[in-house]
Amino acid sequence: MVVSPFTLTPALSLKGQGAKPIATMPAISKLLDPTVLSRINPLGFKAARVVEGSITGLHRSPMHGVSPEFAEHREYTPGDDVKNLDWKVWAKSDRYVIKRYEEESNLRCTIMLDASRSMQYAGKDAQNGRSKFETAATIAACMMDLLMKQRDAVGLITIDTKPRAVLQPKATKRQAAQILDTLESTKPGGETDLGPVIVRAADQLKRRGMILVLSDLLCNLDTLYESLGKLQHNGHEVVVLHILDGEEIDLPFNDSIIFKDIEGSEEVFGEPWAFRKAYQSAMNEFVDTVTRRCQFAGIDHILIRTDQDLGQTLAQYLHRRQRMAATTAGRGRIGGSVV
């Protein structure tokens, strides 16, 4: 039975993982947005590629073990367990062949959450007044809840200039509580250096799986693309959830503005009406470029605007992913470096 974080009680105390003890869990974390959950939970989330799980789950595993689903025959070699011999084949053809089955595994999903200061921005039209970070944290919590329900292991790495909190993927209630606690306790700060940090964080993952990158991607894109390529090379399925505030895309201001770099001290004076279209064009170009590069690399890129309905956006993505999975079943890794 899958335990939902909704079922966690305040009295539940979790231990282990060498992390600091989790004192008290909220009855219902504010990050677990029921409107989002209600949209995505029915859809589920399956890895598009084979994953190495530790328990039986929904996802295809590279291991061939006990499974109701036949995979292939291979010649018997000494050392093979004789119980796997296909006696029917032997009876028919006098050949010793081993019968192999598809093994379904649980998913090891790691959420890499950009906790740099740029994620702190919250536009006035943002849904529920969420900043980009809060939106990313909500997505992380909801996706964790969805995956946990699928008995998938979920980990969390918060990053800015370096990996901050690292929670290796696990499919336990304690893990869920820890993730929620980490998400709620993390305050965005520091500069973004996403590319190298992602690689460094990924190095800490013991097995290949899925990596959800939640970031505004306002960083050096060349190193980012390189890092994403490395993740893919290491066998991870990468999904980029590109979170931007509506104001950052539309620049809807009418007053004279001094734009202060949120991660630095630089200030720029501007009258947005004078260059709004040019700016929008530049931002659209940015998003389109990221989308194009990710598509080229086989990476899912989902633009999430904080002023749009989060549940709908995620549900659309998951639904699309379901349809894509149905049509591209068995597709292998698309390859190599994307840079």
């Binding site: 740029s118 994620m119 702190q120 921005y121 980009k132 505004d216 306002l218 931007l244 505030d245 950052e248 201001f253 007053d255 004279s256 503005i257 001094i258 734009f259 202060k260 770099d261 949120i262 991660e263 630095g264 630089e266 720029v268 004076f269 501007g270 009406w273 004078a274 260059f275 709004r276 279209k277 040019a278 700016y279 530049a282 931002m283 940015f286």
Partner: protein, 716 residues
Amino acid sequence: MPFLAPLLLFGAIFASAPIIIHLLNRRRFKLVEWAPMEYLKLTLRTNRRRLQLEQWILLAIRTLVILLLIFAVARPFLSGNAAAAWLSLGGRTSRVILIDDSLSMGLTNSGESAFGQATEQAATLIESIGSQDALTVVTTSSITAPIQRDSTMNTDEAAALAEQVRDLETTESANNWAATLSELADLLEGTAHSSKEIRIFTDQRASGWSADAADQAAKLEKLGVRVVIVNVGQDAPGNATLAELSQSTGVALVNTPIEFVAKIDADGDPQFKVDYATLLVDGEDTPIKLPDVAAGQKGVPLKLTHTFDTPGTHTIELKLPDDAMPGDNTRSLTVEVAESVRILLVDGEPGIAARDSEVYFLAQQLFSGSTPIKTTVLPDSEWFNQPGVGNYDLVVLANVEKIPPNRVEQLKALVEAGMGLVVFPGDQVDPTSYNSTMYAGGTGLLPASIEFGEAVEAEGLIIEQLDNTPMPVLAQVYRDKPRLFARPAPEKVLKVGLPDLSERSDIRVLARWNGPGLPPAAIEKFVGQGRVILWTVTADKSWSDWPNEASFIVGTREVALNIAGVSGATGNLTAGQPIRQRVSASNPPSRADVVKPGDEKTHPAEIDRADAKRPQIVYRDTHRAGLYELTWDMPGRDDDRTQWFALSPDGRESDLRRLSQEEFEQLLPGIDAEFIDATDPSTGGAQREIWRTLAMLLLGFVVIESAFAAWVGREH
């Protein structure tokens, strides 16, 4: 550039308002912590130059709008130079500067005469017109003789011409604008450049303008001439005019008091500084007490009497004290003083004996009395054989059958010039001929058409009591003792056809025969400066016994003396009329000189020999009023002949009514004339206020600012 309200220029400080607002706006900002700085900076870097340029242009336009507003409110005006420079932008142009130098231009108000303003502004304009334009400078009095004719000038030449213009003097002649415009059209027709402009400096008086100007305006319109009328005239503060100076006494005789009458008009309050006028007789002045002249009063008479002790031509001048327009305050007169009155009696029925003559009684009566009269009696046939009427002050035609048309013309010319004419009927008189030549449908010499004499029964004479009657003594006696006039009882009188006297102020009945339905006894007609008297009885006793009566003796004598005038009195002219002096055809002069009033230099006069039988000296530069002395030689003789001419100001110019712009537009249809009021202090004479131009510019910039701000404010 001068301004009418220069203090308002301090408002230019407000031109900094857009800059201050811009700077304040930069201080009123919102601080936003921004994440996608890289893309923001990229956008700004890409658009910075455009944004800055747009901001600077917008700022400049807004600053300029405020500056223009302040500028317009301060009411700047262009000087003549600047205006000319502005005008010279139009390319090569043939320009005509026409300066009105008529009498009214001498009107002075607020220190400077209109003519002074006109010449100064014209001179300034001449100095500022570039060398690319061909210039003609001309005055209205000398329209056929331009000071400068369609030529380009360098700076020195322009300066010299400007000085020449500044030295011009006004005249006392009147304008004839139709003729002036016609000459202008002719002048411009052959000018060098296709772009043509006339700039008329005038006081815009109505005098001299007529409906004929419209035809000339059409000519100018056809030539595509741009007309600029620069008004230099002002309202008169009050002007006195010496409207008339004339000799009341018909014939001026030596040692006989001669009466003159002057008439004074007051247009507004004349504002004389003194109460005395000055009378100059042959250059010697005498103060004359002026009558009271009230504002608006017309024709206030001033009677003068003088006795000359030598015969010949004498001159008199009467000068009113100076006022706003001194040009019409002086009039002059030449007086031909004779030793006796010269009377010609033309006898239509000379008898064998002296008593049989038609003019016997007349000749006898005219000899009587103290007045020296020199009577010449000529039979009509002899008179007709002479080339001219003769040099007489009065001609009496007695029972002359018919008068040849050429002689009628000669008589008419002399009567118009002042000679008297008395006509007596008789049985020989041919009414058809008289009515044809002498009456001429009412335009001739006779006051009435005539028929043959008819028998009547009259019971004496009635003498009309009239002003300025030529028989004042008779009228006085009749008023006192009318019974003395009961005796004349003609058996026959001339039947006449009188025109409607209510419509003819020039014809009047002096005396009537007493009886129902009887014709008048004497009818008078004014013809020019002379008078004609038609008696309806004969000069002899063939129709009546009246010639034996004392009333006939007194009446005919005083009528003769009162209407006798100097037949050759051509010396009194109006300024602008040419001086013409007939000279001997047998010994014509080789030279003739004129000394103009106020000038000691002699000016050569033209000797016109076009008609060899009647050569004459002509001098046309007579636009100044005053006494002109004409001298010409007589080849073969040592002494020169001298004749004085008195030219008086043209009284039409004393009418100071000014034309409005609308009236000008009616007078000059088709001409889109530009009017500049040089007397408006706001325009500073030749200067032109340019607030309209600035207002248009301001409006334009406001529109540009709005459009540009909208364009800049669009989303980029």
